[in-house]
Amino acid sequence: MKNYEALMREALVGDLSPEDRARLDAYLAENLTEAQTFREMQGVLSLTSTVEPATQSEEYWDGYYDRLVDRMAREARKAQTSWWEASWAKLQTWLMPLPTWSYQLAVAVVLIAAGIAIGRYSTAPSDVESAVVTQGVTSDAVAMPVALQERTTRYLERSTVLLLGLVHFDTEAAEPATLNLDRKQAIASDLIQEASLLREDLEPTQQEQLRKLISDLEVILLQIANLEAEHDVPAIELVKRGVDERGILLKINLTKMRMEEVQPNKDAAASDAEHFSI
């Protein structure tokens, strides 16, 4: 039966050779139930060809291009939203699912932290103490050797370029070959190796957020490295969705900004520490 189902499949699309057609006809002559089913299936195709689409008026077609251009203009205006507005919107979507008590807790934590900061800085410490404090604050924030920070920054920059290339690829309109998947997979594999080394080297620095970011990135990079083909649209869309839902690109930007802010203080504190032999 399965063999004849294959013949029926070919017959429905008109791809049957005369010999196979004869075989199928002979089989159907002996099997009336399948013959009835096949006739009904052919009937569906005949019916399909007779159903005319509902037409639209000439006024509808005359206004089609103008409606299209209006929509394109609206979408262009929306796309001009600033990076900050987009980031704020992204932040809001992260925060939205949280229960009310978590916002209250967050406000309480902020107030307590403000109180501690006021208490700590309201007295005038000596120069030595100030250097220690500065170094302490700096060490708590990002206690990283410069070389490690540069490696981390480079890693984040390379990951950003790779992800942007994928996120901006239009799976519906662009030619699959323009994705250049082989090259992207090679870069992803390289970054995966670097990720495991970085996480190990960052462990003593207690940079838990940064290590978490690198782990999240690793998941995405593994997905990219395992894409089977350029035309595997669902898999590519899954990767893009993962980047979007995790807010990876925003997290990378915020991390880089934090690292850049801390770096000047750290350099100053390190030089002060040398000066006062702490």
Partner: protein, 183 residues
């Protein structure tokens, strides 16, 4: 970008000389709209989908190499956009009767018009039972009369997969359209 798209340019990929985006849309709007209508089953989503197709085509004009025909390229964009929307479950399904604002065919008799409308309704209801890929394959092959190879290219699948999709689609439609079975 919009300001420049209506400037006539010579572009051999699109055959129309001179090429403007307006002319491009007006040439293909009916084809794209009716394909979208067959895919979505209602006017509102068909207009939305067809507009998206042209917006994506507009953005991808530079990357279109002209290897395939323009029609095939637009079909591929339409089907991929439709399948992605269905995956995201963004389409609202409304019945054909509720949403259409049509004029009757100029050639229909009053009775024939009602019959045609009933058949369209039954076909639309039957098509809802198909999966998005089955529906796409069925529409491209039996409503747009594309050869199997072009259907396969639009869906990014092998020819054999298209035939399997079509067979499954017709089997499902047969069950739903039982009132129209041949004597």
């Amino acid at each position: 970008m919009l300001a420049t798209t209506n400037k006539p340019v010579i572009d051999t990929r699109f055959r129309e000389k001179p090429f403007t985006f307006r002319a491009f849309v007006e040439t293909h709007q009916r084809t794209v709209y009716y394909l979208a209508l067959d895919l979505t089953g209602n006017h509102h989503d068909a207009e939305d989908l067809s507009q998206e197709v042209f917006i994506k085509a507009h953005r991808a004009l530079d990357s279109f190499r002209g290897d395939a025909s323009v029609k095939s390229w637009l079909y591929r964009i339409a089907v991929n956009t439709y399948l992605n929307k269905r995956r995201k479950k963004a389409l609202a399904f409304m019945t054909l009767q509720d949403d259409f604002d049509l004029e009757h065919s100029a050639y229909a008799q009053p009775d024939a018009g009602a019959e045609a409308e009933r058949m369209r309704h039954h076909m639309a209801e039957a098509m809802k039972k198909l999966s998005p890929k089955e529906r796409s394959a069925f529409v491209l092959r039996y409503r747009q009369d594309l050869p199997i190879k072009e259907v396969a290219a639009a869906l990014n699948v092998a020819d054999g997969t298209v035939k399997s999709l079509l067979f499954r689609a017709v089997k499902k439609l047969r069950k739903t359209l039982v009132m129209y079975k041949p004597e």
